[in-house]
Assembly symmetry: C2
Homo-oligomer: 535 residues x 2
């Protein structure tokens, strides 16, 4: 190993140490900014050979805890990539016998085999001192957040030696729900693109993967109950689908990183691809007295629709462990319903008059009730509330319309609903320059309402819709742009109001993402020590 040779050159080593102390910049950033962070200039050197993660004696989780055992391995590789890659004497020189460094992790409750959920406590305390770090959390999910912060505290000098400064962190998320939406219908995203996104999400402490898995253009979810949905509705029945085993891999990869997976099966609109494999599900549109051959939203007037939706939702409950499911409900066009004589008769029978919002509400209420009967919490897009304010109280509402989101927050929380804000984070909308700065102007709780109302804002979601995005450009469009939203959802609002202050920290974090193999685009002119080499 590299350090054996240097003992014979004590004088040169000392001289170089002087140089090093000038060259090495103290690196004090953690992204997103912890609630409390105190650092001193005192630094410890770390060496991969004498570094270890361990469980604290008083920890409820011990060796064998799947989530943390795997995290220890993962973060070792992240912190010491050269060492892991087998080139032990790559860039690394040591000036003295390496000292041991132990990261002791203690959690209060076990729960290693469970899933993170809406109530998961993600707080942690991290104390880095000489030769050791102590990480304490209530849950394993909090420990994961702490390990991420720990990994960001470690830095290398120009000779490849590793250091960490004396640090005290007390940290917890501002919002419990910090989501990222991927759309796998408008373009198919290969499994590895999703897994890589989950990796990067964990680096920014996102904790919900909102999987907009199907939509009009394609139905890549391979259903066990209704295999024709993907056989006929996917772009390709073999190469452009997510098998049951793919979905399980996504869920487990996410769980290992403390990330929930919430699938969205958006209906009654956005379902063109469903119709290919499920005859009689969609409403036949009419031209005058005859069917035009095209189809509209799900047909809410026939029993078969509800039987189908119930079977599908049962499967979804079985496959996706999270207690939430996203039912969509957005952008339903009424023209086709209006053209269909059966729908019109049904409207009359139900006393809906000519108000098709009532028909949509009728449909959504039915499937929200189904979902509740399956012991799942529904999330729906704002349209459902806009049409029909009296919906089941525990439904979570998601805001996507940009212009009016503050008024909407006010109305929804006044009605007692929990709310997710996505409107200002439609990150698929790109523009020239540093558009990540916009995130710093978003204030999800800045609306007229009581303190109780503000608490009903449970978080937000970055949405990467797929019209113009697939595996070729997903990563550079997501990262580091999404990191800005991640910080605003995790960190103290007052400490993270200023995009100019965030800039140098985000630049540094973006370089760290590159070092970890995430194809994160640059913020501005400059360079990273480890440039992206994945081409």
């Amino acid at each position: 190993m590299a350090h054996t040779g240097t003992h014979s050159q004590p004088v040169r080593a000392c001289l170089l140490l002087v140089v090093v102390s000038v060259w090495v910049q103290q690196v004090d950033g953690v992204w997103p900014l912890p609630q409390q962070l105190d650092q001193s200039a005192d630094r410890n050197s770390l060496s991969p050979q004498r570094f270890s993660f361990t469980y604290g004696r008083d920890s409820a989780a011990q060796t064998g805890c799947s989530v943390l055992d795997a995290a220890f391995k993962r973060y070792f590789s992240i912190i010491f990539p050269d060492f892991t890659k087998g080139s032990e004497n790559g860039l690394q020189y040591m000036w003295s016998e390496p000292q041991p460094f132990v990261v002791s992790v203690s959690v209060k409750t076990r729960g290693c085999d469970g899933y993170p959920d809406e109530d998961s406590d993600e707080s942690y305390n991290l104390s880095v001192s000489e030769g050791q770090a102590v990480l304490r959390s209530v849950t394993v999910w909090g420990a994961l957040r702490g390990l991420e912060s720990f990994s960001q505290l470690v830095y290398q000098d120009d000779y490849g030696s590793y250091f960490i400064n004396k640090t005290e962190i007390v940290d917890f998320p501002r919002f419990a729900f910090r989501g990222l939406l991927l759309d796998t219908s408008r373009h198919y995203l290969p499994l590895h693109a999703i897994l890589k996104t989950l990796d990067a999400m964990a680096y920014s402490k996102f904790n919900v993967f909102h999987w907009h898995i199907v939509d009009d253009p394609s139905f890549p979810y391979q259903s066990r109950t209704f295999p024709d949905l993907s056989n006929k509705g996917a772009f390709h029945p073999f190469t452009h689908v997510y098998t049951q085993s793919d979905v399980m891999r996504v869920i487990e990869h996410a769980r290992m990183r403390g990330i929930r997976v919430i699938p969205e099966f958006d209906s009654p609109g956005h379902t063109q691809s469903w119709g290919k494999g499920q005859p009689n599900l969609l409403t036949p549109c009419y031209k005058g007295d005859v069917p035009s051959g095209s189809f509209g939203p799900v047909d809410p007037t026939v029993d078969t629709t509800y039987k189908f939706m119930e079977s599908l939702l049962k499967e979804v409950k079985f496959v996706f462990p999270d207690s939430y499911v996203h039912l969509g409900g957005d952008e339903v066009s009424f023209a086709c319903w209006q053209s269909n004589p059966n729908v019109r008769t049904f409207m009359e029978k139900m006393g809906f008059g000519k108000d098709f919002t009532k028909l949509e509400s009728f449909y959504m209420e039915s499937i929200m009730n189904m979902t509740a009967a399956l012991n799942r919490t529904s999330i729906v897009w704002q349209d459902v509330f806009d049409y029909h304010e009296r919906i089941p109280q525990d439904t979570v509402l998601e805001i996507w319309k940009g212009e009016t989101y503050q008024a909407e927050l006010s109305r929804m929380t006044k009605a007692g609903h929990r709310v997710l804000l996505s409107a200002p984070w439609y990150i698929n909308h790109i523009s020239y320059g540093q558009d990540w700065r916009n995130s710093y102007a978003v204030q999800p709780q800045n609306f007229s309402g009581t303190e109780e109302q503000k608490k009903l804002v449970i978080g937000g979601e970055v949405a990467m819709w797929g019209e113009y995005v697939d595996a070729t450009n997903l990563n550079p469009r997501l990262w580091p742009r999404a990191c800005a939203a991640a910080e605003r959802l995790w960190s103290d609002e007052e400490k993270t109001l200023n995009a100019d202050l965030a800039f140098p920290r985000l630049e540094k974090f973006r370089c760290e993402l590159l070092r970890r193999g995430i194809q994160a685009e640059p913020l501005f002119v400059g360079h990273c020590k480890h440039e992206y080499d994945g081409l």
Copy 2:
């Protein structure tokens, strides 16, 4: 091989043939659109086992012609990627004994060891009939364009069999200069990113790589005469530089694809990074009577500047074989010159009054004369002409200011200068949606002027400035957006006025780019048979 088994199943094979003929869509696109393209539904099957490129008997180039020997190998791999990868029986099934197919290439002039230049004839004729294709061109560069078109004519059915339809192409470029600018100063682009860009350029028939190699932020060109320029001016003296051997690789990689490499050493502005390794080159700025410590443009008042520039340009001539060199001359700020008492004295002495455009013109004229003395043609940005219309007649002017480019075209060509248009193709400026469509509205010859003036527009350049671009996002931002400009620079204007008509062809070409390993982003919702798998 796969076809041996199928002979025992003639009935199934025949049945499937019927299906195949329904499934296989005739693929008739070539990007950019050839000047004349006639295709019939008659198709030949091709099999990699019995496919060959050969030199026509009457060809001036024969085996041993570096450019074409290499191109034959390259295009074989492009056309038959599965075969090349060694999986001979991958997707491929054959219904009958494969027939031979020979592509015979004949060029009129040899020139295999030369470089493409401004006068290179890129025209070619391609005739595809039963069992053969005949490609004729004046130069090897024209043959390369024809081979590219040929490779795009070949397609596969769902079983992996290869076909090409009977086709006649007569083709030549609309403009002789079809450039793409990469900026390697604001971000360093690793060598492989440049080489990959050259590959993709050839697919769209670009023929000039404008290498904006140095600028304010960094000086990555490792000069043999002035090694301190990169030692001190690069982002990093070892990892963020282009060595002489890197530059040679770029030039040779480009030559093999019929692409010229024109370096830009932009001065007197945009030279902050130069100053780090070349003391006394930049103008010291003053605050009142004392130097402020910061520096402005190159100091045009001292002899040492001109000696340095002459040595540098001599090296550039030696290293870069192209007869053009780009001298920049854009965006010079006069504030620092104005602050400097020596510069003011010089202005007085020269009788320039307070007109600093005269000082810039004086400087530019000097280095344009140097360049002419080195037998090189200068390209300069429009500013140089805007300040001083009387500049050497054979100087090529490049337009980058967007608002007024038609008036500028008119003025410049009236003064008898050859002109390059880049203003409408600043492709680093991104926006949401299909901004490639804008290229179809650009009409470089639509300005008030005579036919002679119009001919002075020698072409255009797509510019990918590097403020927000490095290896993480270069490829998806370039491709397929740059392809639209490439078509407008190559193809008949009248046949390519309509972006809607181009859309399906560009979608198909984009899928072909993916198949060739280029990380080209999607145009809109949909999928490709071969998705990008380079993650």
